[in-house]
Amino acid sequence: MLSITDLHVAIGDKPILTGIDLEVKAGEVHAIMGPNGSGKSTLAYALAGHEHYKVTSGTTLYQGRDLTRLNPEERAREGLFLAFQYPIEIPGVSNIYLLKAALNAIRKHRGQAELDAMDFLSLVKEKMEWVSMEEDLLYRSVNEGFSGGEKKLNEVLQLTVLEPRLAILDETDSGLDIDALKVVAEAVNRLRSPERAFLIVTHYQRLLDYIIPDYVHVMIHGRIVKSGDSTLALELEKRGYAWIEQEAARGAKAGGGT
């Protein structure tokens, strides 16, 4: 589904990602962990096609196609979804209006008929139950005046309605209480399927108690320095990142291979 080879990404002139390799197959859940500032969000934004994040070298194939040739909306319509670490407020545009426009843009791209207001509403009401969100949030302006937790749940609502093929969750768990965390995990687990893949960025192990990943990757200074199964997350929880940084530094001196 997603095949990243030696990806370099810069913000302005500043190199941030310096050689990412990652292979995500349909049906898999990958967790990406790492200290603050290591480049996790940069990877998420670059995959979504944000213009400030310049791919300077490397290849990214998504469903066999060069991702850099698609603009952000084309990527979205092809089923790539990013749950933002900091969801954006859009005054004046109702949440439900954006959601409907998004779903219909994607359906249109897939050659499906657009949903009318009635069908859309019943779909959304069903998904609202998954994320146990207050209904009035649907009719408020997008993310405007939402609490931190409500913003995150709203991202998850969009995720459940849009049903992407590749979902990237950027620290969706940060700032959530334990009940909300469980809601997010449950929604993700319900959406797990052989056709769908997840890239879950988090820097706490906490979420991974509820979403058991197939792979865990550790990102430090713009590279994935260690990969493993779900037990790696537990080890990180116990030992922190310092030992991995040291290990990576030794490895780099020894010959640069990852």
Partner: protein, 482 residues
């Protein structure tokens, strides 16, 4: 990524859709202005003596006046001797009695603009007066309206058929001495609409005038007068377009509204004059005076405007709230793209007791557009309990445009309440990216955000026109994203 850049280039190239010229012979006066030209215009219209005298008084006063310079707009000096003050399609001098007599090229023009005039194609529930350059060429549903005693006709016809009404009300809200452009209009005005709704009558359909400037080098100086008698109600809408030309053209209109006791006038404008090209060449100078007077208790006047066209807009639809408990409203969306400039707002003059006014102004600037809100809320000594609420919101697209607000508040009664709120926001790259990440194109994202921003104003428009206004806004914003 050549895709989006290419798309944006295509969008920019897209032409102003109403920019065509109708090829038709005209009966015009020579360019320039003097008393003879005014006599000629008056004679062509076969006007009664009082009308000519009023025009001449205005002209003589105009000679003593100076063009105002206080607005936040810039333009090269206008040569008033280079303007044609009267131009009419030839052969229409004797006003056509029926559509069968109207030149088919004119009907075709309005059809192309989406304003069908032929009986079988009429928009249900909307009566239209079509003004082409200096004359009205057709008015629909006139008979049906006259059964209710409602007069809806070209201004020039009202001067002939109802001189007593014209004489009684003309210039009572906007006197001929009012301001440079209104005074010029008083001297040379050619046509426009006249509406009279008798006591207790609710006008059953929207009345609308569609103004079209066609001839080159011609100014349009229309005059509209609307009178709602006691307990009457009328909703009126004006729309405007002009061909694309490289030189600027002047449009200096005057609108006067008179609302008597318990009556209501709702006046909506969807202004789409040619705005000039993306380099700022050409376009209409829209210098307009619009004012209404609530002359009786519980009268109400409501202005709604969607201003997307014109190179320069200079207009301040205002309400004089004389009657106790009378109400004035102003809802405005003004959009400036490319090099357009708008200086617009309102004046609410509270004279009667418990008079109320609401001002809601939404300015959108894109490209190099400059958008100013200018408003005056004045509460006179006797206006016990007067209330005003003003809200001005500005939305910026890009960083080369500007938004300015000049709210003036002048209160002479301690029991009055005046509230003012203002916000400025930007359509940020992050908002656009967020929407695009959800699958919307940049264009759709911008129009969604802009429409959201204007929603409260659009809600005030008659249904048929709210959709039109939304569409117009999207078209006017094309090329604004890049």
């Amino acid at each position: 990524m050549s895709g989006p850049a290419e798309k944006i280039r295509r969008l920019i190239k897209k032409k102003y859709p109403a920019g065509f010229v109708t090829d038709i012979e005209v009966d015009a006066v020579p360019p320039g202005l003097d008393e003879d030209i005014i006599r000629l215009i008056s004679a062509k219209k076969n006007e009664p003596r009082f009308m000519l005298e009023w025009r001449l008084k205005a002209y003589r006063h105009w000679l003593t006046m100076h063009e105002p310079t206080w607005a936040q707009v810039q333009y090269d000096p206008i040569d008033y001797q280079d303007i044609v003050y009267y131009s009419a399609p030839a052969g229409q001098e004797a006003r056509p009695k029926s559509l069968a007599e109207v030149d088919p090229r004119l009907l075709k023009t309005y059809e192309k603009l989406g304003i069908p005039l032929r009986e079988q194609e009429l928009l249900a529930g909307v009566a239209v007066d079509a003004v082409f350059d200096s004359v009205s060429i057709a008015t629909t549903f006139k008979d049906k309206l006259s059964e209710l005693g409602i007069i809806f006709c070209p201004f020039s016809e009202a001067v002939q058929a109802h001189p007593e009404l014209v004489q009684k009300y003309l210039g009572t809200v906007v006197p001929y001495t009012d301001n440079f452009f209104a005074t010029l209009n008083s001297a040379v005005f050619s046509d426009g609409s006249f509406v009279y709704v008798p006591p207790g009558v609710r006008c059953p359909m929207e009345l609308s005038t569609y103004f079209r400037i066609n001839a080159a080098k011609t100014g349009q100086f229309e005059r509209t007068l609307i009178i709602a008698e006691e307990g009457a109600y009328v909703s009126y809408l004006e729309g405007c377009t002009a061909p694309m030309r490289d030189e600027n053209q002047l449009h200096a209109a005057v609108v006067e509204l008179i609302a008597l006791k318990d009556s209501e006038i709702k006046y909506s404008t969807v202004q789409n004059w040619y705005p000039g090209d993306e380099e700022g060449r050409g376009g209409i100078y829209n210098f307009v005076t619009k004012r209404g007077a609530c002359r009786g208790d519980h009268a109400k006047i409501s202005w709604t405007q969607v201003e997307t066209g014109s190179a320069i807009t200079w207009k301040y639809p205002s309400c004089i709230l004389e009657g106790d408990n009378s109400v004035g409203e102003f809802y405005s969306v003004a959009l400036t793209n490319n090099y357009q400039q708008a200086d617009t707002g309102t004046k609410m003059i509270h004279i009667g007791r418990n008079t109320r006014s609401t001002i809601l102004s939404k300015g959108i600037s894109a490209g190099h557009g400059q958008n100013s809100y200018r408003g005056l809320v004045k509460v006179l000594k006797g206006a016990m309990g007067a209330r005003n609420y003003t809200r001005c919101d500005s939305l910026l697209l890009g960083d080369k445009c500007g938004a300015h607000t000049f709210p003036h508040i002048d209160v002479h009664n301690p029991t009055a309440t005046v509230e003012h709120e203002a916000t400025t926001s930007k359509i940020g790259d992050e908002q656009l990216f967020y929407c695009r990440q959800r699958g919307l194109s940049a264009e759709d994202a911008v129009s969604m955000i802009v429409n959201g921003f204007c929603k409260q104003v659009f809600n005030e428009l008659p249904m048929e026109f709210a959709v039109e206004a939304q569409r117009l806004l999207s078209v006017s914003l094309e090329g604004a994203i890049g």
